[in-house]
């Protein structure tokens, strides 16, 4: 689970009673500048606040207050620190520096320092086949307690690499920051489902049609599976597939350069298959 959310304060642009509203263009400019810096901004008007619960521990209220005097504000519950600042006559840049100053040296996630690149599963399409889990070499996928495929380590995902979206037979894997559809989340159409380039045959990567076998619970099928699977072949096929995707310009060359060692790949593949097998067996334990 990722825990490094750093959001030290929420900015409230207050234009309710007791404050003079900004002009519409000035308001849009201030909001855009703060959002582009990574702040969350609430616009509160005489019509009411935004109506969302204020769950933040720290609020910075900006307004053109009467007599240019920011009021003393206090949260009745004592849980939220509220500070108010008067912004009368300030330009957008001055307002941004005022907010930055109020934040002080508290860390904050900021645009430009990182690209939120990770797969998002459309569960209305996903059939829980586990092919993405077996394919990804960077442990992005995992299985939930109730046996469902899950994106667990999204920070491990290689920026600009949407390779697993090609593996998914249901076109259920989206990368929101991808430029084109259906990977960017656009509606999937029949042609997308048919398009050969969407599909990578995962079974060839792993040496045989393992998924059909995993679903077949008979012991005979399982033992055939373990005998027929060839580690070398799997490795070779996986590399071939990734190289092809890189040549097609579908994944960045850096992804190939950052692949784990062959031994590591095989170890990960074994682990992923054990997880997938357990989930497909529906008992949470590798069979």
């Amino acid at each position: 689970m990722i825990t490094h959310t750093a959001r030290p304060l929420r900015v409230v642009l207050y234009e309710g009673n007791g404050a003079i509203a900004l002009s519409a263009p000035a308001r849009a400019q201030v909001m855009a500048a703060l959002l582009d810096k990574g702040y969350a901004v609430t616009r509160a008007t005489a019509q009411g606040a935004s109506g969302f619960p204020h769950d933040d521990r720290s609020l910075l209220v900006l307004g053109q207050f009467q007599n240019q005097q920011a009021p003393d504000l206090e949260d009745a519950t004592g849980k939220v620190t509220i500070e108010a600042r008067d912004i009368t006559g300030l330009e957008t840049l001055d307002i941004v520096s005022l907010v930055e100053k109020a934040r002080g040296n508290k860390p904050m996630n900021q645009p430009g320092t990182w690209k939120p690149w990770f797969p998002v599963i459309d569960y209305s399409r996903c059939t829980n086949c586990m092919q993405c889990l077996s394919f990804c070499l960077f442990d992005v996928y995992g299985v939930s307690k109730d046996g469902k495929i899950q994106v667990q380590n999204n920070d491990n995902c290689k920026t600009n690499c949407p390779a697993c979206s090609r593996v998914c037979p249901e076109v259920a894997i989206m990368f929101p920051k991808h430029q084109s559809g259906p990977i960017n989340g656009e509606q999937v159409n029949e042609e997308d489902l048919r398009r050969e380039k969407m599909k990578v045959d995962i079974s060839s990567l792993l040496g045989g049609d393992i998924y059909a076998r995993l679903r077949d619970r008979s012991e005979a099928a399982k033992s055939r599976f373990s005998k027929e699977r060839s580690a070398d072949k799997a490795l070779e096929e996986r590399k071939k597939c990734l190289t092809k995707m890189a040549q097609d310009g579908f994944i960045p060359a850096e992804v190939l350069a950052s692949l784990p060692s062959p031994d590591e790949i095989m170890r990960k593949a074994e682990e992923a298959q054990a997880k997938a097998q357990a989930a497909l067996n529906g008992n949470g334990n590798p069979a």
């Binding site: 689970m1 959001r7 849009a28 969302f52 929101p176 920051k177």
Partner: protein, 112 residues
């Protein structure tokens, strides 16, 4: 343009971390929101919040009826689900700034 019912919450996503929403559309929609009398919430990037399992997403998901200006509805629903706070089926309208026009999105947000 008619005013939104005060109980309908509005959320605007700036898509600031990788900017896949066209700049002119997100600026235009923000300008229209700022031109209206409506109070609203805005965030730098819903994708970034989902990646970090930001708890504020839960507050948004529980604040229905809600209209969200962001991108493809499949993505927005997927992001909330990934952050373990699925958006309910009812009471949520998602406007798509990647494909809809400024006017379509603004009208969808601010309709009565």
């Amino acid at each position: 343009m008619s005013e939104t019912s005060p109980s309908t919450k509005l959320l605007y996503c700036r898509c600031a971390y990788a900017q896949v929403v066209p700049q002119s559309v997100k600026d235009g929609v923000l300008a229209k929101l700022c031109d209206s009398g409506a109070g609203f919430e805005s965030v730098a990037d819903l994708c970034e919040m989902a990646a970090h399992r930001d708890e504020r997403l839960k507050a948004f998901a529980e604040s229905t009826p809600i209209r969200i200006a962001a991108c493809f509805p499949r993505v927005v629903r997927g992001l909330f689900r990934q952050a373990e706070c699925s958006l309910p089926e009812d009471g949520v309208e998602i406007l798509n700034m990647r494909v809809q026009t400024i006017d379509e999105v603004a009208e969808g947000l601010l309709k009565a």
